[in-house]
Subunit: 432 residues, 2 copies
């Protein structure tokens, strides 16, 4: 049964995910040998700090100071890149490994989002595998699901909660009634958010993941530049309360869908009906829904980050390689990726939630209504709670489906009204 | 790119799933050729009724009256068995095909639950693939997820809503406040339940699926006989109302978990906390949660039945075969399946919900409490709503964790009390 030689791997980067991967490979060695039909052996590693305890025995592994040099080791079959970063050393390691005819497994979402198509082409030319399950949604096997499990489907839309930090913040804001800044500070203390949180809370991380997912789901070259991106800094406690009242939850979603104008890719806070499955994905969990013409709606929910879940994804890719399962990186040969055009955000069509802080004076609502009418935006509901003559009070509006460009013009006009005392806040309502 | 010869398949059985499969293969032919690297061509079919419209062009397919004869066609690479039944023609077709060295794809859960291990051994001996994604949970790629996506994990528990008919009935009972018999009749009118519904509502269908899932999740020979099975006939409107009051939803779950006594496999109605993800899986949807030591909790939710979702699963298996991905049927070689012993249901340990109809007389609760105490069953809560002296009123109890055998003895003793006027109803509380 185990007559095949071991699959020899080299690991570049021994941070949390790297350490988790070594732990998994050590603890499950027997199980993996059975599942893969051969042993998976770590023969070399590279990291900055040699002294740190990784919770696994590094004794029999060669230590290589220059990660890129791992690609040149003749006995290495697979290079596992866990350094990160769209450019720099991580990219260098991956390119060198592929060029040397080594299989690559990576958790590097920035790299795949920026250079995924070129890397897939390179892997294909060299006849090697390029696995990146760990780059999207941690332990959730969404890449395999899209590429293989849903191979018989034309996907029309894929959307999901792709960033646990922002989902934790939004969930905690709703559950505790606290404000964004306070919850963010707590998330930083708990280690759920970075000291510089902008990568998460401004939607950059989710955009990387969405660009990769869209490529696999739609068989299209990765197009990070085509992702419209908006974070959660402007979501207030007030919006969360109004969302509840209207039957919605606010989630930072990444959404890619086929429209009449091409492929729409966007990351922004959304109002989603509270009874939809994605609304129930709370805290640090990730959840992804794929809509296929035969399968219907399929949702996967699980841990989108962390050393062990991410290691689970890295090792799944290794087992695929060990057993000779080497699907095209994005499901179809790179040359067959379809350059379906990207749809401009101005042409997005959907419903909107708008919150205004206005002076409580006669005629305010008439002015707002006129600004909407001038852009052919049709109101669906309006809430004004409480009265406080000549003070600022919130007004909330929802619209019927309308075009983004018209909505933006109407918001600009509303923002110029003298009775509107803060910039208008807008959150898109997603029909799921 | 398409230099490889087509993958030639023969389809045995053209009921709803067979027709859906032909439709998918026809409509997505180009997409599949790209994903599989070769065309997937249906060269022969067999079914009872030749005249029926299958919504796909059967013009160029050979019609074979005897399904078993498909296995003998020299130009056929894969036989797709969509006839069903643990024995009879479906089994004959699968065995003949494997023996003839053809790959097999089947949606036949009864067959896989009864004879899965032997079929896996046969496939292995002949070096062919045996795909049965469609046999469990329709369009949800749970077999692939367990076998490949979670290859790096030791699974400790897997559970799920594996039968859409019963989930529809339970959901509708809760939402409408109607009783079991009435909702079942409606489900039959709507085509969600069969004229003879026992296969679904007595948990037989879910047991088949659980036995298959447990085998893949735990790398153990399929053991249908080891599945404890209880259906939903006894779940009443009253129980659903009490569940809500206690913060639970009632779901028919299939659960397999590793215990100190071996592998527990059971299908029965469960009380699950209403905030758990599985509680939110409603209507005809299926949902499955796998708990792995590295991935943590992973949930998949989607359509567990129907022509098109099931066809999606059949075709995913065909694409795997077309690209040469032929994993061992249950994830590890048949000879390596671990005969982890099965745990007897009497040794199950968990909490319980008990509903009694008692005469509203002094001393009733003391008698019940004594019967529980005699078996060392510890009460967690008790509800008695309303008073109606000398009439029958419901009493609901929940217990702390206790052993099934003790619980059953206590229930028998309680049932013998003269003040208890109906057989006690018990629903297990599942800690998820």
């Amino acid at each position: 049964m185990e007559s095949k030689p071991p699959l020899n791997i080299a690991v570049a980067g021994l941070g949390t995910v790297g350490a988790g991967t070594l732990q998994l490979l050590e603890r499950q060695a027997e199980r993996l040998a059975l599942r893969a039909g051969r042993r998976i052996a770590v023969v070399a590693v590279s990291a900055r700090d040699r002294a740190r305890d990784r919770g696994a025995d590094l004794g029999r592994m060669r230590w290589v100071d220059d990660a890129t040099a791992l690609a040149a080791l003749p006995d290495v079959d697979v290079v596992v890149e866990l350094i990160g970063g769209a450019d720099g050393v991580g990219r260098g390691v991956v390119e060198a490994a592929l060029a040397a005819g080594k299989h690559v497994v990576t958790a590097n979402k920035a790299l795949m989002a920026e250079h995924g198509t070129a890397l897939a082409e390179l892997a294909e030319r060299r006849g090697v595998g390029l696995g990146f399950e760990a780059a999207v949604a941690g332990g959730i096997p969404i890449i395999k699901t899209l590429r293989e499990g849903l191979a018989g489907n034309r996907v029309s839309r894929i959307y999901g909660i792709l960033n646990g930090t922002t989902n934790y913040i939004l969930t905690t804001m709703r559950e505790t009634g606290r404000d964004f800044a306070e919850v963010l500070a707590e998330a930083q203390r708990l280690g759920y958010a970075e000291a510089d949180p902008s990568f998460d809370i401004d939607g950059v991380d989710a955009s990387h993941k969405l660009a990769i997912l869209a490529s696999v789901a739609f068989g299209r070259p990765v197009d990070l530049a085509g992702v419209y991106c908006e974070g959660i800094r402007h979501v207030s406690k007030l919006d969360i309360d109004f969302a509840e009242e209207l039957g919605y939850r606010i989630k930072l979603l990444g959404i890619a869908r086929v429209t009449d104008h091409g492929l729409e890719q966007r990351v922004h806070p959304c109002m989603v009906r509270h009874e939809t499955p994605i609304a129930a994905v709370e805290g640090v969990f990730n959840g992804i829904v794929a809509e296929g013409d035969f399968v219907g709606q399929l949702m996967l929910e699980g841990r989108g980050a962390g050393a062990h879940p991410t290691a689970s994804a890295v090792v799944a890719d290794l087992v695929d390689i060990a057993t000779g399962r080497l699907p095209a990186a994005f499901g179809v040969p790179a040359a067959a990726l379809d350059p379906l055009p990207g749809a401009a955000m101005e042409r997005h069509r959907g419903a909107y939630y708008i919150r205004l802080m206005v002076l409580d004076q006669p005629g305010v609502i008439a002015d707002i209504a006129a600004a909407l009418r001038d852009q052919q935006v049709s109101m669906e509901s309006m809430i004004q709670r409480g009265r406080a003559p000549d003070e600022a009070v919130p007004i909330v509006l929802t619209t019927h489906d309308t075009v983004e460009a018209a909505m933006q013009q109407a918001l600009a006009a509303i923002g110029r009204l003298s009775t509107v005392v803060e910039p208008p806040r807008m959150i898109r309502i997603e029909d799921l």
